[in-house]
Amino acid sequence: MLVFIILPFFFAIWFSLTNQRLISPNPTKFIGLSNYTQLLSVGTIVLEPERDASGAVLRDKDGEIEYPRLRTFTRNNPDHPKIDGMREWFSWQTGPNDEFKRVILAKDVVFMRALKNTFVFVIVVAPLQAGLALMLALLINQRLRGINVYRAIYFMPVVISIVVVAFLWRLIYDGNNGLLNNLLGAISFGAIEPIDWLGQTSTALGAIIGMSIWQAVGFHMVIWLSGLQTISPTLYEAAELEGSSKLQTFRYVTWPGLRNTAVLILIVITMQAFGLFAQVDVMTNGGPLDSTQTIVFQAIERGYGKQDISGGSAISVILFVIVLSISLIQRYLTRERI
């Protein structure tokens, strides 16, 4: 226990401060925080449009404004030491007439995208999955004949490995003959064109989110159910006697009784969502165009794939700090109500 969890954790912090590699002829050196600055440095610059002699803005054939090349600022330019070696992350138009271009730069653009994607994933998945699971739990909590059969079916994907599920859904999401495209086509009588769900940047992360929820929602349904069953039936009887509507009963009887469960579920989902890896590894490998890169995928790709233990460890430590602070915030926000 001590050896395999606590020790590696401290190793992670130590390695992240060095240039450790899995197999290296050079001895390990202490390099301080440079792994972190390498990962986290961001900068910004405003590009002014190119103008001709009279001061009019130059435009290319398509009418787009022309700007000087970013490289001239980021490659050994003594006037801009802060953004040396950085690359473009994203940009937007700014200034009078939207002629200027504000560019956000980062030393490690891929890692920045991974950070963003992971946060998007967590922010979408946590409330959506918790909400859907609660709805399922309420449905299952009825007294109906054969309800256990439904409960068993809803829970079924949970016992299957996420890796198996990811492979299966790769076929379902397939751009040409995928089940999902055919289903959408059949429902809309061919109005919806087939979509390459995992192959384009706009849908890939969403596809992974949908599949992840499909797999895990049963798990949280069961936890909600166990919370629902701790609420005393006398409370419901009282509410019924008072003539409260279904919505009122939920609002004033069920929901207050579920507070602890809600906190637990949100924390558990958040933790799991930050660990997003297997789905990405199986389905997209981080692509297309880094649109499904995640923090853990980056940590593994560097620490294992490129044998850069220190880089991977630094990412691990960053992930841990994020998870820790989020669970502290969640605990703080829900503190008085418990």
Partner: protein
């Protein structure tokens, strides 16, 4: 009046079942699709997924894909590896963690509270964050084997087993369960002159059926479905578990029929196991929820 009411009741009942069934379809159809596809040649599989035939065992049905899957990869070996690693880990984990739980819940010693809170703290560290340093550590650990002392744990069974024997959740489940047992029982046994070891395996363990089932099921699911760790530490075919073995099916051409056969092969036994013990599975997940 009463006829109207009962009609109304029937309609509402029908709607309820309809909703439940529609949702059930979302969960179950992909799985049916998987098993049915595993029986069809890859070509027909892709054509069939355009219609309801995707969910029916029609057309050119055979176990051909299974034969092909066995030819392409040493499937039997992978399954044995997975079962071996999972089995050994579950058994040794149950033994070690129940002992740890016993020591924390029943015995009196200094620093117990600190140890317990340290164990609980490990629950908040996602495994993904320690995977990379653990990899480096494992590559340098010593081991006394047949050929004397050797270093490096990569490509072995032990690297897949040892790190997962002690885990915070299992210990915690046992601590909780042991604490709720009546103290009189233990004291009576002690008065009779039983050693602590006797108390543990003659008094406590026979009473621990439910918690053992819970811990075993959770551990089994976690171990059998492991992916990240074996992917990192096992490069040799001989020690590979089933999920990492999937890589075999993406060389050169992707034969979906074979992949579906392989997926069905490693999933259906677990599903069957689950359906038989369905109540215990769900109870074990629910019991982890109550703790919060």
């Amino acid at each position: 009046m009463s006829v109207l009411q009962s009609d109304n009741y029937r309609l509402r009942l029908f709607v309820r079942y309809l909703v439940l069934t529609l949702i059930a379809a979302i969960f179950i159809f992909p799985l049916i699709f998987m098993v049915m596809s595993s029986l069809k040649p890859s070509q027909q599989l892709l054509v069939d997924s355009g219609s309801l035939r995707a969910f029916l065992p029609v057309g050119d049905i055979s176990l051909n894909n299974y034969t092909l899957a066995f030819q392409r990869a040493p499937v039997g070996l992978f399954v044995m590896n997975s079962l071996f690693v999972t089995g050994v880990t579950v058994l040794s984990s149950l033994f070690l963690c129940s002992l740890a739980g016993f020591s924390i819940a029943i015995l009196d010693w200094k620093g117990k509270a600190v140890v317990l809170s340290a164990i609980l703290a490990t629950l908040t560290v996602p495994f993904e964050t320690i995977a990379v340093p653990l990899l480096l550590m494992s590559s340098k650990l010593p081991w006394v084997g047949m050929e004397g002392l050797e270093f490096g744990w990569l490509n072995s069974y032990r690297v897949q087993i040892v790190p997962f024997i002690a885990d915070g959740l299992t210990i915690f489940l046992f601590v909780q369960y042991f604490r709720d047992l009546p103290r009189d029982l233990i004291e009576a046994a002690r008065v009779e002159g039983a050693s602590w070891w006797t108390v543990y395996h003659k008094v406590l363990m026979p009473l621990s059926g439910p918690v053992i089932a819970t811990a075993a099921i959770l551990k089994f699911l976690a171990m059998y479905n492991q992916y990240l760790w074996p992917l990192m530490v096992v490069q040799e075919e001989g020690y590979r578990p089933v999920l990492v073995g999937l890589q075999y099916f993406f060389q050169l051409n992707t034969a979906w029929g074979e992949i579906m056969a392989y997926l069905s092969l490693i999933t259906v036994p677990v599903l069957a196991f689950y359906l038989v013990l369905q109540k215990a599975f769900i109870a074990s997940i629910a019991s982890t929820g109550v703790k919060g």
